[in-house]
């Protein structure tokens, strides 16, 4: 049996609640309802789940999905060794066995056939058939499935099927308002809040441009990066250009506008 302690979050992660999502999540967990967290990149979705796992004292198994992922990568496969073949559980199977919260990050990225394997785990059956092994796993009572999903990325080709979507309760995340975001970044990095407030201001300039040449604004994660650089004595202007502007766009006009916002904010 796998050691479930290794999947437990040891120290309390810093998480700043935005609304009453903590209580709502607890309610969902109490009833073992599958959860979907939606929101733009870097707005705190992963951090939230990590925090909830810690708060609930449950192991957390996170899987970053990608387009090469197959069902076996989730469920498990036979390996060959000296003695012949040996079955190795995939992360989803492990989670179902030990009663962990299984967090499938960016599930849309995975191929459509992959997403289907989670279906039986999300309804009242709470089972996971291991076809190749000829085993049917009944999920541990503590097991819960969480997926994340960034609606901004969806194209006609890449969208969750309705039948998948309709198996989850959902949390809508977005970048927090300026005061809260300032608090988050300051807490996370230890940078003085008046400087952080300026970073947040620049972040919001970019978010105002969403749809006018930017697909996504500047994420909280990038603000954390910028603050970290400044904390390490990089000049604010350089830190912002490097962590906030250069990563998100190659559009000359937008760069110029953001660069101007940086200079206008920091001098």
């Amino acid at each position: 049996m796998t050691d479930k302690e290794q999947y437990k979050i040891q120290a309390e992660p810093f998480y700043q609640q935005q609304n009453n999502e903590v209580a709502l999540y607890e309610a969902a967990y109490r009833n073992r309802l599958p959860v979907m967290v939606k929101g733009p990149t870097g707005c705190g979705k992963s951090r939230f789940i990590e925090y909830m796992a810690w708060k609930l004292g449950k192991p957390l198994i996170t899987v970053a999905c990608n387009e090469d992922m197959t069902a076996s990568d989730l469920v498990g496969r036979y390996l060959l060794d000296e003695g012949g073949t040996r079955w190795l559980d995939g992360p989803l199977t492990t989670a179902a066995r030990i009663g962990a919260i299984c967090y499938l990050d960016e599930i849309v990225e995975a191929r459509q056939d992959t997403t289907v394997v989670i279906h039986p785990l999300t309804d009242h059956r709470r089972t996971l058939p291991l076809d190749k092994k000829g085993e049917l796993i009944h999920a541990h009572p503590d097991f819960q499935l969480v997926i994340s999903y960034n609606p901004g990325y969806q194209t006609l080709m890449k969208d969750l099927k309705q039948s998948t979507k309709q198996r989850f309760t959902a949390f809508d995340f977005d970048y927090p308002d300026a005061a809260l975001e300032t608090e988050i970044v300051a807490n996370e990095t230890g940078l003085a809040s008046d400087t952080v407030a300026k970073l947040v201001k620049i972040g919001n300039v970019a978010r105002n441009l969403k749809g006018h040449g930017l697909d996504e604004g500047i994420s909280t994660r990038l603000l954390v990066y910028a603050a970290t650089l400044i904390k390490d004595n990089v000049s604010p202007v350089d830190a912002c250009r490097m962590a906030l502007v250069r990563p998100i766009t190659d559009d000359a006009d937008i760069r110029e506008t953001l660069d101007h916002a940086i200079v206008a904010t920091f001098t």
């Binding site: 036979y78 060959l80 006609l156 953001l258 101007h260 904010t265 001098t267």
Partner: protein, 775 residues
């Protein structure tokens, strides 16, 4: 002056000057000079003394000799007194600016004009010589100018079809009259380009050539604009739009006003219902780039829109109002700086810093000067002014700004007490100290006032003064060139395209149309399914797959044999690669679509609507990214481009609702619409880009009499599309066209077109055509 008479003389200026110093009286001297002019024009006599005084002060004695000799020669040209008078008046100042030696080249030019049919241009040439020279400030540059002039003259003289060189250049006199104005804005090379454009395009149209060189025609102004230095608004509209949206959550039409044609009274930025008015060009100033000067103006205006409240003007004197404006402007700037501290540096670099003692209150009205200093001090902590009142009010202003919220009204009261405190009798003087008091980034504050007495203000005030940050629709116009086949060149920024969101109707109408064509849809569906699979690609590293991937299998086997963990992904499989086609559907929505289609009860518009709905449905099924837009035009100043569906939008009720509201009107300026559509299509990341143009007739517009012009422009636009990797295809509904008679469509689109002759079958034909095109 009346005393002297014409008398021949062999005196030279030098001797005369010496003589004057010694023996001759001033009058006698003048008489000697006058005789050398050898003229009988009484008008010349009237100005001669003044001219000579100036000449003697600014020319060497050889220069004076040459001056008189040249004036004499000009007087003998047989063109009346005017050229000579002009020369007498203009030359001393010219020589002062570029040196006396330039006279030879100037006289050469005059001689060339005299020999050509362009003698009439000599007078304007001389008339503008001094201001031109003042702008150029060197003999070399003046020679370049003379070269441009002669070049223009040679190339435009007598070139009217078939005739001999007996016609003078139509444009030359106008050009010469405009020369100082042109050089105020252009470098010589810019002027040269501007002149070249005029010669190339209007060599055969005397009237249009005159319009061009007198700066009357639109393209003449546009080319001038293009050749100017500094940052042009037209080139930076998007940049500034991003600035407004990003930093200020505001957006507005940006309307340029010309700074080129009103040099005496410089226009001031302002805003009203129609948009924010900005100078068409901003040069760099005090180390601030042109684009940042625009940003400063915009920020200041945004500040007013956010924070200012209109005040009742009737009760206050003009002085009081001026003070209120200065104080309120500073309040706004202070609030802006609070948002973005970097604005302070920008504002201070652009704000004048008047000297404390620059204005003499004994002779001059100094209120403006005082207020400009105060304004500086309110923004600049290091102002260094010592005046006690000024410093007291600076402190009071800052105290006021410490309050959690401030209003126009509060700061207005502070302004009134400032006026009361510092009032001086001389404030009433007519002579006002203006120097160094104008803050160029500030608007004219017309929105700050409301008048109770109705009727005196032509511009009504917007009821809703304060503008909350919000999401804004509607974009500033984009400008596109148009191809002029006559001159084989582009007219720059000729057409203004306004893009807007198409209004919405009832989405269910479209669903009903689709329902009506259910049978057709079924048939189409089969064809769509056949379209979907395309070339297959191999996916390696599959655990389960259709074939063994030998390379990987062997590697795994080696790993296994050597005791390492083998990779189980030894298979490969095939996947059909997605189509990579982006589509732009461009709909002509001109008036003619309202006509009933031949052989049908429906209008062309209704049939188009059905066809487009089916096509959109089909493309959506295929999953190709596609956009739909309609266009019509009402002269080149107003090409309307209506957004129906964007690439990022889905084929949903919102889009259907817009399609349901499709309406027709106005004309067909196709080239501009295609260029604008290409702007979006070219940004798509697809291997193939298809632009379908659905139209019922040839390009035309009410401001264009030459049918060929817009056809040729569309043809040129098609060429541009080709260069951008876009495949244009026209679906023509022109009922008058029969096979073989399709001349203009073919001219524009080459082989890329289909004519739908039974329009009632369009709903069926269009989707099929699309599929055939993308198979």
């Amino acid at each position: 002056m009346a005393a002297f008479r014409a008398r021949p003389s062999k005196f030279l200026a030098k001797e005369a000057a010496v003589a004057m110093n010694n023996t001759l009286s001033r009058d006698q001297q003048l008489e000697l000079y006058w005789t050398r002019l050898d003229t009988r024009f009484p008008q010349a006599q009237a100005v001669f003394e003044d001219c000579m005084t100036e000449a003697l002060a600014s020319l060497s004695s050889e220069g004076v000799d040459a001056y008189l000799e040249a004036a004499r020669a000009i007087g003998k040209l047989g063109r009346g007194v005017e050229p000579m008078l002009a020369f007498l008046e203009e030359w001393p100042a010219t020589a002062l600016a570029v040196g006396e030696s330039a006279l030879t080249a100037v006289m050469d030019t005059i001689r060339v004009m005299q020999k050509s049919p362009n003698g009439r241009a000599i007078d304007p040439f001389i008339r503008t010589l001094a201001p031109v020279a003042r702008r150029l400030q060197s003999a070399e540059l003046l020679e370049e100018y003379l070269e441009i002039t002669q070049n223009l003259m040679t190339r435009t003289t007598g070139s009217i079809h078939g005739h001999h060189t007996t016609f003078p250049s139509p444009g030359l006199p106008d050009f010469l009259a405009q020369a100082p104005n042109l050089l105020g804005q252009l470098t010589l090379s810019g002027m040269k380009n501007w002149v070249d454009y005029g010669i190339r395009n209007y060599n055969n149209h005397p009237e249009r050539q005159k319009d061009y060189f007198s700066l009357q025609s639109a393209d003449s102004r546009a080319v001038l604009q293009r050749e100017r230095q500094g940052t042009l608004l037209v080139d930076n509209e998007r940049n500034l739009d991003l600035y407004l949206r990003g930093l200020w959550q505001d957006s507005e039409h940006l309307v340029p006003y010309s700074t080129a044609f009103d040099q005496i009274r410089k226009p001031i930025p302002y805003y009203d219902k129609l948009g924010i008015r900005l100078p068409d060009v901003c040069e760099d100033q005090n180390g601030i780039r042109g684009i940042d000067r625009y940003r400063a103006i915009l920020a200041h205006i945004v500040g007013h829109r956010r924070w200012s409240e209109a005040q009742i003007a009737d009760n206050w004197s003009p002085f009081q109002r001026m003070a209120v404006e200065f104080f309120e402007d500073c309040r706004i700037d202070t609030l802006l700086i609070r948002e973005y501290p970097g604005m302070r540096k920008l504002f201070l670099a652009l704000h004048p810093k008047p000297q404390e003692n620059a204005c003499d209150p004994e002779t001059t009205s100094c209120l403006r000067h005082r207020l400009a200093m105060l304004s500086r001090a309110l923004l600049d902590p290091d102002h260094g002014y010592t005046d006690a009142d000024l410093n007291e009010f600076v402190a009071r202003f800052h105290a006021l700004m410490e309050q959690p919220a401030t209003s126009t009204n509060e700061v207005a009261h502070l302004a009134l007490s400032y006026v009361a405190r510092t009032r001086r009798q001389s404030d009433q003087f007519a002579k006002v100290h203006f120097d160094n008091t104008v803050v160029e980034y500030r608007d004219d504050n017309r929105q700050l006032w409301k008048f109770i007495e109705a009727g005196d203000e032509e511009e009504a005030f917007d009821e809703q003064r304060k503008i909350e940050p919000q999401e804004i629709q509607g974009l500033p116009p984009r400008h596109y060139p148009e191809w002029d086949y006559v001159s084989q060149s582009y007219r720059p920024d000729w057409v203004s395209v306004y893009e807007s969101l198409h209004s919405s109707g009832n989405a269910a109408d479209i669903d009903r149309l689709l329902q009506k064509h259910a049978a057709l849809a079924k048939q189409l569906k089969k064809m769509l399914d056949a379209l979907k699979p395309q070339d297959k690609v191999r996916i390696r590293y599959q655990e389960e797959g259709s074939e063994l991937d030998l390379d990987v299998a062997i590697r795994s086997l080696i790993d296994y044999k050597s005791g390492a963990n083998p990779d189980p992904r030894i298979n490969m499989s095939h996947r059909t690669n997605g189509r990579s086609i982006a589509v732009m559907l461009l709909l002509d929505l001109s008036e003619s679509l309202n006509e009933k289609a031949a052989g049908s009860e429906q209008t062309i518009l209704e049939l188009s609507q059905e066809a487009v709905s089916l096509l959109a449905w089909a493309i959506d099924k295929l999953g190709d990214p596609f956009a739909i837009a309609g266009f019509h035009s009402n002269t080149r100043h107003e090409v309307r481009y209506q957004h129906i569906k964007g690439y990022s939008e889905r084929w949903d009720d919102e889009v259907k609702a817009r399609l349901a509201k499709m309406e027709a009107g106005y004309s067909t300026r196709m080239g501009a619409a295609m260029r604008h559509a290409a702007h979006y299509l070219s940004a798509q990341k697809a291997d193939k880009k298809l632009m379908l143009i659905l139209t019922d007739g040839q390009p035309s517009d009410v401001d264009t009499s030459d049918d060929r012009l817009l056809i040729e422009d569309a043809r040129q636009a098609v060429k541009e599309l080709d260069q951008q990797g876009i495949f244009p295809y026209c679906i023509s509904l022109d009922a008058r066209l029969k096979a073989g008679d399709d001349d203009y469509v073919r001219d524009i689109f080459g082989q890329h077109y289909t004519i739908i002759d039974h329009i009632e079958r369009l709903p069926e034909r269009l989707p099929k055509l699309f599929m055939a095109l993308t198979k």
